[in-house]
């Protein structure tokens, strides 16, 4: 035999029983797994982005609402050694570093008649607590 036209044109290949149904279900389950993976990755990315935004908002809020945010923070950061102690007085901060004490009130030059004695008592208490520390 020499001529191709003399041969009946037919599909010579056989496949196992139920092969094409099996192929379809295998491919579809792979596709579903892939889709799930993409969906999970999308949720993860969104969660990370949301967490980053929340963290940023919290940081901005802290920065805005932190008392005395007008440049004194920089001062505090410079002085901020581990041994520094902050004394709070209302909204004000005085920094006491390495045992050094700063007078919160300049008694010598102030007009004592106009001093609020309650404030003086408060500072006195605070100073005595500091004495105990050192």
């Amino acid at each position: 035999m020499k001529n191709l036209n003399e041969i009946k044109k037919e599909n010579p290949f056989l496949v196992p029983d139920g092969y094409f149904d099996q192929l379809e279900s295998e491919v579809m389950s792979k596709v579903r797994a892939e889709q799930k993976r993409i969906h999970h990755r999308r949720i993860y990315t969104i969660s990370v982005a949301a967490a980053a935004i929340v963290a940023l908002l919290v940081a901005i809020n802290i920065w805005i609402f932190l008392p005395n945010n007008n440049g004194q923070n920089t001062e505090l950061a410079k002085e901020g050694s581990e041994s520094s102690i902050l004394l709070a007085s209302g909204n004000d901060y005085e920094l006491l570093s390495n045992g050094e004490t700063l007078p919160a009130v300049d008694f010598e030059n102030s007009d004592l008649d106009n001093v609020d004695y309650q404030i003086l008592d408060y500072y006195s208490d605070e100073m005595s607590q500091l004495d105990l520390l050192y």
């Binding site: 020499k2 041969i7 094409f20 379809e24 491919v27 596709v31």
Partner: protein, 183 residues
Amino acid sequence: MEPIKDQDILDLFGQEKTKEQGFNLLVKKYKQEIYYSIRHLVFSHEDANDISQNVLIKIWKHLDQFRGDAGLKTWIKKICVNESLTFLERKKKMLNIIDEEGYNDYITKTVAEDRFLSSDKIQQLLEQAIQLLPEKQRAVFTLRYYDEMPYEEMTKIFGGSEGGLKASYHFAVQKVEEFLSKH
């Protein structure tokens, strides 16, 4: 049951909610064509099965990039041909067959031992002759002979001119007939 239209597949695939349904229709419509066009090129059922699955997953991943320049069927066949040719190149390197005689022996043995091949002796001989063609010529031959694909459509798969593809098919037919006349 009504035949599945390519446009319905593409419309469903184009929407996130019905993407999977559209792809399922594509699998139903094209699974056999995909498998057999690959099988004609790589011959063994096991290899054809692996490549068919890869091709279908590739289609799933890239169908949204289908621009409709060629028909959906041609686009799918192009993926089948490319994947099969890549596979054959790798396999040839893996088998480390350097001379033509060694390759002929390997093909003869493979065809003779295949469980999933027609028991018709003439069909077996024809398949053996096809498997001995160079890979790209085999692809041209099987698409033209079994699928009766027009040359114009084939240029979208292989590139080049219709004349070049006609010549390639003509040489393939000559080789196949020569082999048949000798056996």
